[in-house]
């Protein structure tokens, strides 16, 4: 079963096409790493999947609830950790937002500071709060835009373990990334984007893990 499918998706910014008929299919329960250079269209594609942007042409199908973690942490500085998460639970229509918030805080290890304002948190704590927010409603599909960039070690560990658990629980993950090593620990599949097109999709293989440059050499743009 497909969790996410993009069919000949075009996205124009003015007359400039950021996506030029990209096709992508992601099986439910798999973890897809989106690779490619800056400007290849990774973020645009993820934003379309998340419903933050409309494709100019083409079709996108999403089967299930979506959790999104973008470049910003998506957390209000003047609300406490608990208030942030209950608000998000209400937006998602979670049955018991307060309970969901408590559980999410537990998962990322912020229970002790649940009533602290987000603005008083350290960088790492804020990132963990963002992770808790994205996972709060236990979404079927997780969309992560360069999740490991700028995370501290602890937040990376928390995120990795949550992603592993989500994957084991049958969730689908799509993440764009530059940190190939971190991504490859989880990724079951890899998609390579090049100037607005998906030029390669396939299961992960040992070469990718051993040598991050291999992928770009093999499927990347010919010099």
């Amino acid at each position: 079963m497909l969790a996410v499918a993009a069919e000949r998706v075009w996205k124009y910014f003015g007359d400039y096409p950021a996506l030029r008929g990209a096709n992508l299919e992601v099986e439910a329960g798999s973890c897809m790493a989106l690779l490619g250079r800056n400007g290849a269209g990774k973020t645009t594609l993820l934003r379309i999947f998340a419903g933050l942007s409309n494709p100019t042409k083409g079709e996108v199908r999403i089967a299930g609830t979506v959790g999104y973690l973008g470049h910003g942490i998506g957390v209000y500085d003047d609300l406490s950790a608990f208030e942030n998460l209950t608000l998000f639970g209400q937006l998602q229509g979670v049955a018991d937002p307060a309970k969901a918030a408590d559980e999410a805080l537990e998962r990322v290890g912020l229970t002790r500071v649940k009533d602290g304002m987000a603005r008083e948190f350290s960088r790492g704590m804020r990132q963990r709060l963002a992770v808790a927010r994205a996972f709060l409603h236990l979404p079927d599909i997780l969309l992560l835009d360069e999740p490991f960039t700028s995370l501290d070690d602890k937040a990376i560990a928390v995120l990795q373990s949550l992603l592993e658990a989500a994957l084991a629980g049958g969730s689908t993950i799509i993440m764009s990334t530059h940190q190939i090593r971190e991504a490859m620990e989880l990724a079951t599949h890899v998609a390579m984007l090049e100037r607005g097109l998906v030029v390669h999709t396939g299961p992960q293989n040992p070469e990718m893990l051993a040598d991050p440059a291999w992928l770009y050499r093999t499927y990347g743009e010919k010099q």
Partner: protein, 227 residues
């Protein structure tokens, strides 16, 4: 639909809670409004009785200045940490996000207005308690008009470089008919006339304005939020 109204309520509560914690726009709008009220007494050195004729105009100029400061924060409040993305990517429908933010701005502006009203009465010796019920109706109708147009434009300008400059440029021309209606209705009430007969046209105008722009904003907001 139910989920929509529930999320609108949650967003309005969130906006009010953060605003009451930081009081950023409340303090700015209230103190600015009072200063303008003081300045008007030098701009129009009139006798006490003459003030009644321009009372509605004075009051609504002050209120619209305060309103611009309040709605300026509307969607801009969602910019730090990319919170707007989170709102849009959540299951909350666009109209509910808009409604929540408009209601919050509406209540905040009402707070500022009811702080200013007694100050206004005091400075200019104007009795505003006589027809208080009708006055509240006029204030509520016109304030909703200001905040619904203002919040819509705060969404339109949220990604504009010089947002703070552009919002008033859009807002004031658009609310001119609303302000004309509110000024007239308020002058009528403060002068002790009855809200009846021809004087009712101004109320009708306020209602028509509110209905048209509420409908337009709720209908068009999805185009604004997801491009």
């Amino acid at each position: 639909m139910t989920h929509g109204f529930r999320t609108a309520y949650a967003i309005a509560r969130k906006d009010l809670r953060t605003e009451l914690r930081t009081k950023e726009s409340l303090n700015a709008a209230a103190s600015f409004a009072v200063v303008i009220l003081v300045l008007f007494s030098f701009a129009f050195p009139l006798e006490r009785d003459e003030f009644y004729a321009i009372s509605g105009g004075l009051l609504w100029l002050v209120y619209s200045f305060a309103g611009a400061l309040i709605v300026n924060r509307g969607f801009a409040r969602e910019l730090p940490n990319d919170c707007l993305d989170v709102l849009i990517a959540s299951r909350a429908p666009g109209w509910a996000i808009f409604l929540g933010k408009a209601v919050a701005a509406f209540l905040l502006l009402l707070i500022v207005e009811f702080i200013c009203l007694p100050v206004f009465g005091l400075f200019y010796n104007i009795r505003w308690t006589d027809s208080f019920g009708s006055l509240v109706l006029v204030i509520v109708l016109a304030t909703w008009g200001i905040t619904v147009v203002g919040t819509a434009f705060s969404a339109v300008t949220v990604n504009v470089r010089v947002r703070e400059l552009m919002l008033p440029v859009l807002l004031y021309p658009m609310i001119i008919p609303l302000l004309i209606g509110a000024m007239e209705a308020t002058t009528v009430l403060l002068s002790g006339e009855a809200m009846a007969g021809d004087n009712l046209y101004s109320l009708q105008l306020l209602v028509v304005f509110d209905v048209i722009y509420t409908a337009l904003a709720l209908y068009l907001i999805d185009y604004v939020l997801v491009v």
